[in-house]
Assembly symmetry: C2
């Protein structure tokens, strides 16, 4: 199974791919767009893309990519993000004066880094910043990235779990050219547009509320090229083959200017809920 993902080896998405698939052959890509393109043209069997982080919010680019490409969502996966402080071999925490990483990772460790009293410098990638360490002479620079990134580049994990908020999870979507219709415990993702008039979203949501269909996520996006008209992305519990979901989507078509179903797929266990129960 060839699986495309965005990032350098050692990126959090690569970890999600390795956890989710059995013995995948990973294909690293420079951009999310390339992931979608490789799946569409058959170079990759599957793609894995982040869609939502519990702290940072949705990865809007991938909503746009879903819209632009003729692919289906086949599954979802939640990854617990554990950031590590990574230094050159033999370097102690007290020696560190500067920390580099992707701005989002730096932001998620802001309190910790303030406590260290170090200078912070944004770079373009988490795993990429570990790769930069390798090439540096300077022993006082460290990076924030995954344990796997440290291992791949032969660097040293000085401290693990340095994120300020432990409830840091990313939700990934498995994408392919074929739709997967799970029998039970399904989630369905749809997108639609509405006429911009008072109450239009209220009417659209009524098709689900009147049928007691649970929505697990709603996201609005400006429609590219037509500012301040919105696309609405909704995740709902149920399969597009369930009678009640079918009826709701038929009803939604009465109000929607455009409606597309990205697929029904097995609902994954949310790691944070699991951890809370422990």
């Amino acid at each position: 199974m060839k699986v495309a993902y965005q990032g350098e080896p050692g990126a959090y998405t690569e970890q999600a791919v390795l956890n989710y698939f059995d013995n995948p052959e990973t294909i690293p890509c420079e951009t999310f767009d390339a992931v979608f393109a490789l799946v569409e043209n058959g170079t990759a069997d599957r793609g894995m893309v982040p869609i939502e982080n519990s702290l940072a919010g949705s990865i809007h680019q991938n909503y746009d990519n879903l819209l632009r490409h003729a692919l289906y969502i086949n599954g979802e996966y939640f990854l617990r993000v554990r950031h590590c402080l990574i230094g050159k071999p033999g370097v102690q925490r007290s020696q560190i004066k500067k920390v580099i990483s992707h701005p989002q990772a730096l932001g998620q460790c802001a309190n910790y880094l303030r406590g260290l009293g170090v200078q912070v410098k944004p770079e373009y990638d988490t795993a990429g910043s570990v790769k930069m360490l390798v090439e540096m002479e300077d022993q006082t620079v460290a990076a924030i990235a995954s344990r796997r990134a440290a291992e791949i580049y032969g660097m040293n994990v000085i401290e693990e779990g340095v994120e300020d908020d432990r409830e840091n999870f990313t939700r990934f979507l498995e994408i392919s050219t074929r739709s997967a219709k799970p029998a039970a415990n399904a989630k369905t993702t749809v997108v639609f547009t509405l006429k911009h008039q008072p109450g239009s979203l209220f009417k659209a949501l009524s098709v689900f509320a009147l049928r007691d269909i649970d929505l697990t996520k709603i996201e609005s996006r400006p429609l590219p090229g037509t500012p301040w008209n919105y696309l609405f992305y909704i995740d709902l519990l149920g399969s597009e083959d369930d009678t009640v979901v079918k009826k709701a989507l038929n009803h939604l078509e009465e109000y929607a200017l455009m409606l597309r179903v990205f697929g029904s797929y097995p609902q994954a266990r949310n790691v944070v809920e699991e951890e809370r129960k422990e």
Copy 2:
């Protein structure tokens, strides 16, 4: 009037500040958070922050900042974003081999840059990438940024309006420590949370739909620290002093676990609508 904004001189936000305020004294800040802090502690009279781009979507960090700080929205402003290809003085377009800028700006000029056949390298800032040009010896590197950034750093605009989509606008918010209550033509921004149960958003939206109140924007954000519970941000037409809006917000309080009004302010003309009419 001292106005804080995030970015280097020459950033698009600085342009918005200069267009919107009369003779402002600008205070550049490294982070959005610093802008909010300077307004809150009185170092700046006002802050100006981007909240939404017509192509890239919402700037979620600033929704989070609104929530964390006790400030009010006093106004909004729409800026047309016109990207320029900027080179060292005397350099021609045909000499350019590499282009640097913020990844979002590079993304918004992707087709244009593909046409040029150049290598693309993401940097952390648009105006900052022009500043980098100044320090470089290499004549074959260009940057994507505003005309103002080129002027400030003495660099040359090779081509203007190189964005792929002309409908590229950013909406900015004016923030201060005091609430401004406009008499007419008002917009109001609120945030609320709901119990996660089927139909809860539908009920919340009913308070506006039943009173024919027009919503111009809805945005959902995961609540930091409690994954997969959402904050809803809504912009509605009307002032919090209007009887009908007051009644709707009182009604919303019956369903909301938390409700906060960020203020009512004069609705700005949307530049894209203006241009369409011409």
